[in-house]
């Protein structure tokens, strides 16, 4: 019988072979073809812990830290382990009720699942931190986690510095390849945003092996694949913190903006936009309650008027109009216009502020007295320049000059969302007046005195002053002069700021005339009463009409006259004459920068100016309606001498504050002598006023 069925042994071998072949086939598919199992395995077993480096610090020109890092503590919870918590005690410490407690636990589960730590209460105050630390054993599953937050020792330059905030879904989508994760922080506006890659440093990743219960077993592969966190790099800016503080202080209770540039480098010395806010209000636990109010405020404190506000330059444009006409050979410095208080060559007469004969007998005089008729005439000559055959041709050339001066285009400052303001295109006039054959210089006459549709940002105005101060070139305005241990890539990012922008070929002698005229403005002209102790300076006032109420007060200037070190533009909205409001602000800023201090007299003037309330009535009404007078209250600007006291003060306010990169846990509340503190701090009711 065995012989009879012998072949069946072979068949059995074939069956066994086939099954083994199938198994090998599946193994090929699992182990060789598909890599999803490898990923799934890593997901299972490798726990990635991201190590956040310290963000870079931003310094001013004298290496004073405009912002620093501070350690704050969050209360975090792992919902699965939060069993047997003394909820009553915890709620009492955090001053929440039980419903809120369960709500937050649910939130933590939704955000970070049951097994991962989620934030229960962010940014603990020193007091609550101390209480929790003592009682933590009563709250299983809860722990205190350290996090680095920004602090601003000088309370200043909020909009320039910007803020960091938790990234949202939109941000993650836009920066997909950059490795951000939910819960990360990133710079949202200002320098924090523009230099995000430099400031944030390189996050480190530590890999741990974890078991099926989520317990860490130890480092994965002995840390072979771990990357080290590299701290963010520091930025060295051209900002002068004292000038910046002064600018913000002077603009208090007003709507407006001030920009100061160092013409020799293009570095921005100060950039203020008012109303502003204290940057410390947008960090830590205060952020939550502040940000909404800032966003809703009708005076738009988050709107950087210095780079986004569009203002008619008014008379501050006149020096540039003259430069164009000089360069085109249409006038000489001796050109005069017989003005008797109005300009009627285009029908409807345009008013001039001066009546006395000969106030526009030459360019220098016309600048000093800011004669409207003179510059209207000069503008018309530029547009109707026979060289270009038509008004359109002349206008195109004129616009070319304007763009060269930095108007009607983005200057490229290192802040996000700069506005290019407006120098109208011929197309706009074609649209309004029909065929270019039908329009001429009279149609846009007031462009000649910086009105009509011409608008400029304060930054552009300041830059135009730097251009005149330098006699024909400027450096792109910027904040960051250098980056700590600059790489080639970073140098390339800063390269545009280090390149001289020689945009015109206007000869030096024309600039000399303009400078003399602008100097005369400060000697016997419209700004004669504004002095910078110890320095001769050049300036031009402006009073720009605008359709939304009172005239804007403008002032542009640079100093010293012969070796300009600072160029300033100041705008106070709806304030009136340029010389009255914007002028003194510009003067004080120059004084502070050039002398590094203010004279007693100037100090007094500054204090008075800061008190002047020029808020438009409409905004005041809005505040009254919404019961939010808080933002009109001034920010308390401390400076070097006060910084030590400031530390204590911050502690007493509950913001845990340590020196830069100091990771020591916060000290318990210091027993500050109340009376002593009062004597040192002029405004002890600051807290009350900032957080009503």
């Amino acid at each position: 019988m065995s012989v009879y069925n012998q072949n069946r042994g072979g068949i059995i071998q074939i069956i066994i072979g086939t099954i083994f072949f199938l198994i090998v086939g599946q193994l090929v598919s699992l182990q060789i073809v598909s890599n999803k199992y490898k990923l799934a395995a890593d997901n299972n077993a490798i726990f990635r812990k991201i190590v956040y480096p310290d963000r870079g610090i931003i310094y001013d020109r004298k290496k004073r830290a405009l912002l620093e890092n501070t350690i704050s503590y969050d209360l975090v919870v792992i919902p699965n382990e939060a069993k047997g918590v003394d909820t009553a005690a915890l709620c009492a410490i955090l001053q929440i009720d039980k419903a809120e407690y369960s709500k937050r636990i649910v939130e933590a589960i939704i955000k970070n699942t049951r097994v991962k730590a989620g934030v229960f209460e962010p940014f603990l105050t020193a007091e609550i931190y101390a209480q929790l630390n003592e009682n933590l054993y009563r709250f299983p599953g809860f722990s205190l986690s350290e996090r680095s937050i920004r602090s601003y020792p000088y309370n200043t330059a909020a909009l320039v510095l910007g803020y960091v905030a938790e990234v949202d879904v939109k941000f993650l989508k836009e920066h997909e390849s950059e490795g951000y994760e939910m819960g990360d922080y990133a710079g949202m506006i200002g320098l924090e945003k523009n230099y995000e890659t430099v400031l944030m440093g390189q996050r480190g990743v530590k890999r741990f092996l974890r078991d099926n219960k989520g317990k860490i077993q130890g480092p994965y592969e002995k840390g072979e694949f771990d990357t080290v966190a590299v701290a963010g790099k520091n930025l060295y800016t051209s900002v002068d913190v004292q000038v910046q503080q002064l600018a913000e202080k002077l603009l208090q209770n007003k709507i407006g903006s001030a920009v100061a540039i160092n013409p020799k480098t293009g570095g921005v010395i100060a950039m203020a936009s008012s109303p502003g806010y204290n940057p410390n209000l947008l960090t830590g636990s205060q952020r939550r309650k502040t940000i909404g109010r800032l966003l809703l405020d009708t005076s738009r404190p988050l709107y950087n008027r210095a780079i986004k506000g569009q203002y008619p330059p008014g008379s501050t444009f006149k020096p540039l109009g003259a430069l164009i006409a000089l360069d085109e050979g249409l006038i000489t410095p001796n050109y005069g216009y017989n003005c008797f208080g109005s300009y009627g060559a285009c029908g409807d007469p345009r008013k001039c502020e001066h009546h006395n004969a000969g106030h526009a007998a030459n360019l220098q005089l016309a600048l000093a007295y800011s004669c409207n008729s003179y510059f209207l005439q000069v503008f018309r000559m530029a547009i109707d320049n026979p060289k270009y055959k038509s008004a359109k041709g002349g206008y195109v050339k004129w616009k070319e000059y304007m763009n060269a001066f930095g108007f009607g285009r983005k200057l490229g400052v290192d802040l996000p969302s700069e506005n290019k303001a407006n120098i109208p295109d011929t197309a706009q006039y074609n649209k309004d007046f029909g065929n270019p054959r039908y329009w001429n210089s009279c149609y846009m006459l007031t462009l000649g005195i910086g009105q009509d549709r011409m608008t400029a940002t304060p930054l552009q105005l300041a830059n135009s002053m730097a251009f005149i101060a330098n006699e024909g070139y400027y450096y792109t305005p910027h904040f960051v002069d250098s980056i700590e241990s600059e790489t080639q890539e970073e140098a390339a990012q800063l390269a545009p700021f280090r390149k001289k922008q020689k945009v015109t070929k206007i000869p030096k002698e024309y600039f000399d005339v303009i400078k003399e005229g602008m100097h005369d403005v400060t000697v016997y002209g419209t700004a004669a009463f504004i002095k910078v102790p110890g320095h001769e300076y050049c300036a031009k006032t402006g009073t720009a009409q605008n359709p939304h109420g009172k005239n804007h007060s403008l002032f542009v200037c640079f100093a010293p006259k012969d070796n300009p070190k600072i160029a300033v533009a100041v705008i106070v909205e709806n304030a009136g004459y340029g010389a009255t409001w914007a002028g003194p602000i510009g003067g004080l800023l120059m004084e502070q920068y050039l002398n590094d201090t203010l004279t007693k007299e100037s100090q007094l003037k500054a204090d008075n100016l800061a008190q002047v309330d020029l808020m438009p009535q409409a905004i005041k009404n809005w505040y009254a309606q919404h019961n939010k007078s808080a933002y009109l209250t001034p920010i308390e600007y401390n400076n070097d001498e006060l910084s030590d006291i400031w530390d204590m003060e911050m502690l007493s306010e509950g913001v845990v504050k340590t020196k830069t990169k100091d990771t020591a846990p916060p000290a318990p509340l210091p027993n500050t002598d109340k009376t002593n503190k009062d004597s040192l701090l002029p405004n002890t009711d600051k807290k009350k006023r900032l957080n009503p």
């Binding site: 019988m1 065995s2 009879y4 069925n5 012998q6 069946r8 042994g9 068949i11 059995i12 071998q13 066994i16 072979g17 099954i19 083994f20 199938l22 198994i23 090998v24 599946q26 193994l27 090929v28 699992l30 182990q31 060789i32 598909s34 890599n35 999803k36 199992y37 490898k38 799934a40 395995a41 890593d42 299972n44 077993a45 490798i46 092996l209 974890r210 078991d211 099926n212 077993q217 130890g218 994965y220 592969e221």
Partner: protein, 449 residues
């Protein structure tokens, strides 16, 4: 060749099988070591403490080696003589478990014996059934071409299988189908196998397809076959009857038998596993047993998932081509695969040594099986041959089903990987199976009855 019969055990025994046996058992200990390894403790001390699975398995192996030597020293005739008695006592023990059995992991198939050890009669019955089957077929009066013989043999196999199902040991019950190899070799007509296979395909199709659609497909197939026979149908009415009855049985299976088995006979988790293997969800609320236990316990039935298979596939798949390396498997160290040192031991090999390792490992098994077939074919006595093919069948079934379930080709049934999985009972059974075969093979020139 009487000298062969009288000699010491080394003569005539197949050394290759012994070497392979030892090799596999050592790989097993190593695999268990990989599962249990903990870098924070010294493995030598934990090995010597004897508390870890790998040290226990090591001592099991030493014990089994003694058993092996003991078997080799026995007389071959003992096995033929005792085959029926052993089988009967095995069945008796299995029945006894229903009374004095101890429940371990949800199956009441263990009899506690002295020293904290437990005996699983169903495991022993594998050996006894093999011997009894060999004894039955090798009887001179058995004509294995007859249907009657097939039925008797089938009944011999079915008895322990059914008892195993009664003990909630589906895996062990399935193992008894492995004797089909031996029966086939001895003349079981292939038609029976083909019918059984078709039936299996029909059951799987039932699970995969919509029953109505399947009924339509079956009807169309029947119609086509009728068309094919065409004119011959008029002459031979019997064909119509045969075709129609097959059609009716098929449709009946699809519509009634399969749903009945899945909902009323199998446990909820069995049904779920079989369905999930095919990529489908099984609704446990249809299951009578689940409903009964639900009513009993009052607990809400938890939705069972295919966690085991998923983790097992991840572990094996993450090995890649070369593997992660000895003791470097993250899934193994993280204990992601449940039951990893017993039923899912293959995953630790797959993760550590990758495709190269698993391929080599399967090669070893294949070589082992083919070697056993070679041994089977060189037997003079039918008894030895049937027994040998039974051993081949049992080994093959265990290997194929165990590995297939870890890589997602077969539903999860709890059967160990021969010689590799942790467990003294299982190691002892396979040792006995192999060494009895070696003993018989040493006397291959004898005709045993």
């Amino acid at each position: 060749m009487a000298s062969n019969y009288d000699n010491n055990f080394s003569k005539g025994t197949d050394l290759a099988v012994i070497v392979l046996y030892m090799l596999m058992a050592c790989i097993g200990i190593l695999a268990i070591f990989m599962v249990e390894y903990n870098p924070s403790t010294n493995w030598i001390t934990s090995f010597l403490s004897g508390k870890t699975s790998y040290s226990k398995q090591f001592f099991f192996l030493i014990f089994c080696s003694f058993v092996g030597v003991f078997i080799l020293l026995m007389d071959s005739k003992v096995f033929t003589a005792l085959a029926n008695i052993l089988f009967a006592s095995g069945l008796f023990l299995m029945l006894a478990t229903f009374v004095i059995g101890k429940e371990i992991n949800g199956s009441k198939s263990w009899i506690p014996i002295a020293g904290g050890f437990n005996l699983q009669p169903a495991e022993l019955c594998k050996i006894f059934t093999a011997l009894a089957l060999a004894k039955f077929i090798s009887r001179p009066e058995t004509d294995f071409t007859k249907l009657k013989s097939h039925l008797i043999a089938g009944a011999m196999i079915a008895m322990p299988a059914i008892l195993s199902i009664g003990q909630h040991e589906l895996g062990l019950a399935l193992v008894y189908s492995a004797y089909v190899f031996a029966m086939y070799r001895e003349g079981l007509p292939p038609v029976i196998l083909i019918v059984l296979l078709s039936f299996a395909i029909l059951v799987i199709a039932t699970l995969l397809l919509d029953p109505t659609l399947l009924a339509i497909i079956l009807t169309i197939i029947a119609g086509l076959i009728l068309l094919y026979f065409g004119k011959r149908l008029k002459r031979n009415k019997q064909i119509i009857i045969v075709i129609l009855s097959i059609w009716m049985i098929s449709v009946g299976t699809v519509r009634f038998a399969v749903p009945y088995i899945f909902n009323n006979v199998l446990e909820c988790y069995h049904s779920t596993r079989i369905y999930s293997m095919l990529g489908k969800d099984y609704d446990c609320s249809l299951n009578q047993k689940a409903a009964a236990s639900l009513a009993e316990s009052g607990k809400k039935s938890r939705k069972p998932d295919d966690y085991n298979v998923k983790q097992s596939k991840i572990a094996i798949g993450s090995g890649g081509f070369w593997g992660r390396g000895f003791l470097k498997g993250t899934q193994t160290r993280g204990k992601y695969v449940p039951e990893q040192n017993t039923d899912f031991i293959f995953t630790s090999i797959g993760e550590a040594f990758g495709f190269v390792g698993t391929f080599t490992f399967l090669g070893l098994y294949l070589f082992f099986l083919f070697r056993l077939i070679r041994i089977a074919e060189r037997q003079r006595s039918t008894f030895s041959r049937v027994y040998a093919y039974s051993v081949v069948g049992i080994f093959f079934f265990h290997i194929a089903v165990n590995i297939s379930m870890t890589i997602g080709l077969f539903p999860v049934v709890g059967i160990p990987l021969p010689l590799i999985s942790y467990g003294g009972s299982s190691l002892l059974t396979f040792t006995a199976l192999v060494f009895i075969l070696l003993r018989l093979d040493a006397d291959r020139q004898m005709v045993l009855r």
